[in-house]
Symmetry: C2
Subunit: 371 residues, 2 copies
């Protein structure tokens, strides 16, 4: 795509971003509202492929930081985003040429588009992960050696913090705590990089992917008797690189949520309602949450685990649900979707594999797990 120019495109992209958010990244709704407002004023961000970036251009990631449960309660302010851009350019001592999402999943897909529309800056069709993850250092940028800082952080009250750390893990800890100190909603600039680095390290095409996924869900809803099954068909990759499958079909019988230390922790338990679905009648699925859905276990056996994506869809409409939207009694379909190949390499699993989330198991690819 070259831009996101219609209300339908904005809604599609937001819906696709929730799917790729794998439960986390926050509801893009606040960003969607903001983009619709910009569109009404005639502003839309131009989208460019990584390949079209000049090697020596200056590319910056823009993201909201905080527990998604808090993030969604605040509206995006044009003033705050422009303050962030101005303070960042001042700190880095140069003009920003293009914006890029650090993570395409959830609300952080929208903020670069919002600032891009506001400030007339192009947004790169790609991101640092192809999904959402709870920690700043869990990006291909970080995995391949780029520094997340210097990072400029601002909030709506005019407070600002500049963080410069020697490691991205320390940056994550400091920035998370600054977010908590400032009431848990801050916007920041991260991973200042050259156009060449963006070309080499970004997961390409993920902005287009949000749009395509969102559109597929919308169209299946309009045309298919079973939108979830229709969407799974649409998601199938003819090249066989990315895999998807239905993990569970059932009803949420228990869900716990907790916001702690700037994160949203939780667990959802589902019971099967169909004898013809995976797990059969009486089966049980438990999904662990740290902002994102980390692991899904069916009757005690892992059926999908990070960095592969787990998404929960409303059973009737196939609408993807963020983790904080899950409620007792909801009928849902749980879908597994393999991570971008970049994230499944050993160097990536050392940064965002299951053990980094405290899980006592190694990564197994979705397609290698018996159905």
């Amino acid at each position: 795509v070259n831009s996101i120019r219609t209300v339908q495109e904005i809604q599609d992209a937001a819906r696709g971003a929730v799917f790729l958010g794998a439960g986390g990244g926050g509801d893009p709704y606040v960003g969607e509202l903001f983009l619709r407002d910009q569109l009404a004023k005639g502003h839309a961000a131009r989208i460019i492929a990584p390949a079209d970036l000049a090697d020596d251009s200056f590319v910056l990631s823009i993201a909201g930081v905080g527990a998604p449960t808090v993030l969604v309660e605040h509206l995006v302010s044009a003033r705050t985003l422009l303050t962030l851009l101005k303070a960042s350019e001042q700190h880095y001592g140069r003009k920003v040429d293009a914006l890029i999402s650090a993570e395409i999943g959830g609300a952080n897909s929208m903020f670069p588009l919002a600032l891009g529309a506001l400030a007339g800056l192009p947004v790169v069709d790609g991101d640092g992960i192809g999904r959402a993850f709870p920690s700043l250092e869990m990006t291909t940028f970080s995995i391949y050696g780029l520094a997340a800082t210097p990072s400029v952080l601002v909030d709506d009250s005019g407070n600002s913090v500049v963080v410069h750390t020697k490691s991205n893990r320390v940056a994550e800890r400091v920035i998370r705590n600054v977010a908590v100190s400032l009431g848990a909603t801050i916007y920041g600039s991260f991973y200042p990089m050259s156009g060449l680095d963006a070309k080499r390290f970004a997961v390409a095409g993920t902005l287009t992917q949000t749009l395509e996924i969102g559109r597929a869900i919308r169209e299946c809803r309009e045309r298919c008797a079973d939108p979830v099954q229709g969407f799974l068909q649409a998601l199938r990759d003819p090249k066989g690189i990315r895999h998807c499958r239905l993990l569970f079909d059932g009803k949420i019988t228990d869900v716990v949520h907790e916001t702690r230390g700037g994160w949203h922790f939780g667990q959802a338990t589902l019971e099967s309602t169909r004898s013809d679905g995976p797990g059969g009648a009486g089966g049980r699925l438990v999904v662990d949450i740290q902002n994102e859905y980390l692991v899904a276990r069916r009757d005690g056996r892992t059926v999908a685990v990070v960095p592969d994506l787990i998404s929960v869809l409303d059973r009737e409409s196939a609408e993807p649900l963020t983790a904080e939207m899950l409620r007792y009694g909801q009928r849902v379909a749980v879908v597994g979707y393999s991570a971008p190949p970049e994230l499944r390499r050993p160097e990536s699993l050392a940064v965002c594999g299951p053990r980094l989330f405290g899980l006592k198991e190694d990564f197994v690819a979705l397609e290698d797990i018996p159905e």
Copy 2:
């Protein structure tokens, strides 16, 4: 004084700083070692009276931030202090003309002297409080409207953070959390101010006071049969502005310590061992701690409360003890010392009075409480 040039002077100043620290501010021992090392190299900070500052000079507070229990475990590094100065001058865009302590109590009396000796900068004979307090905004600088930020923070590992907040209370929260994130030992520059502001708002003469108090204790130890009583005599203010009294004479029968959220919390319980002391035989004193000794209650009745100073001295040597030094079985004298008059004004009590520490009582001046 014009400088602190002998090992004995350094030791006296450190001892006096512990007394004025009222249990908090951290053990100045690491700063003392550093100063002795500087002295051996022929470096000593020049001390200047606030009145000798040019109105348009640039004065900066330098302080360590973190729970004192953590602060004392780390040695001061010359490289870190010089990095702090350089990063601060770069951020503020001007050369620092003089350093000042934000709080004279505890270790933060030493860091400006250490950096002053290292960098050849004079240190102002005064501070922002005349004692130690657990929060950054509890200073006369803050009470009279100066901003604590922009603040430059550095640690020994080369990490740095610049904080710019709209209020000093928010600054305290952010900076405390940055300290916790970075392992709880950071050094920072605070309250950038003009020489005129330093003259108008600093509590003057407190560096000289540390030296005089420390010397008095040393001399009483050498000359008096009862050093504690001798020191109380020496502390008596002929002008009648500052008051002191012995609050308790006894043995520590219980003490609890907890480091939480970047602070040291605790409570010490003492039992009287002398029938001729305050409280008589069998009396009981309880002291509440948040970094500093906040309130002393004898048999349930308040006998001294913040911002007045409470100090605990070793019963035999009259050596002042920081809160984290208190141990079961120690024989101690507890002394009350009235706060500088600046801190007892209504505008000051609104920032550092008993209720700001969660105590359910109003301030009563030491000298107005029946003995």
